[in-house]
Amino acid sequence: MTAPARTSITAFPRGHEFSPATFTLSPDQVRAYLDAVGDTNDYGNTIPPLAAVALGLDALQSEIALPEGSLHTGQEIEHAAILCAGDALKLSGRIAQRSERQGYVISVIEFEIADIDGTSIRARTTIMAPAGGDA
């Protein structure tokens, strides 16, 4: 199977659905995340919600290219249940909003990360990218 080509985020229209992806976060990946941010809370074998979002965004970027000068300007997250390290996670996402302002394209990516039971984390990420910028 060929990985989808990466497309500048500015090119995606509102309503665009990204290809569903499946990924797993290992305990080592979660540990590396916690060490990097300096979080010493005990999460056991669970995935901190913001780690799931950060690593989910990374998974989405197999499809999305960000032009130079792009900025992450907002983040929403809603936790419905705990996700566990090592579980297969399904990622689905779409462009929920798109607007242009002062030479920038403002895109809101809405995505959900769910385990096999369907429990999930939902997130909305706002990205401001230069219109016409090369990715």
């Binding site: 979080d39 919600p49 965004l57 983040q75 929403e76 936790h79």
Partner: protein, 127 residues
């Protein structure tokens, strides 16, 4: 369950930014390449917004445990860049309690008092 939330204070040196880039996969050069970043309007590297936001997640988890992970909601706006070496304080102020949920105004501010993230966090504090 108490509704008090203890602040989290952390310095964010370039080494932590680099570690976060590796852990998250976000290697945008604005965060990790000083030569490239010097050519941008920021004039230098800036901290990942999600790394700064993680302090709010840590703060809420420390105060509410699994309740944060199972019922939490967070809405945040990245208002200004955080620079390598900045010391950031994440804090929360109770806005209201209703129907067993507590809503907080949350923010991250640098050592100069500049608010770099502000938003709202909600967690269920009683069944």
């Amino acid at each position: 369950m108490s509704t008090e939330v203890a602040s989290v204070i952390r310095q964010l040196p370039q080494s932590r930014i680099n570690a976060y880039a590796d852990a998250s996969g976000d290697h945008n050069p604005i965060h990790i390449d000083p030569v490239f970043a010097a050519t941008t309007p920021f004039g230098g590297t800036i901290v990942h917004g999600m790394l700064v936001l993680a302090l709010i997640g840590e703060m809420m988890r420390a105060s509410f445990g699994e309740a944060w992970s199972t019922t939490g909601k967070l809405k945040a706006r990245f208002k200004a860049p955080t620079r390598p070496g900045d010391t950031v304080t994440a804090s929360a102020s109770l806005s209201r309690e209703k129907d067993g949920a507590a809503e907080y105004a949350v923010q991250c501010a640098t050592q100069t008092g500049e608010v770099v993230i502000e938003g709202r966090a909600t967690v269920v504090v009683s069944a």
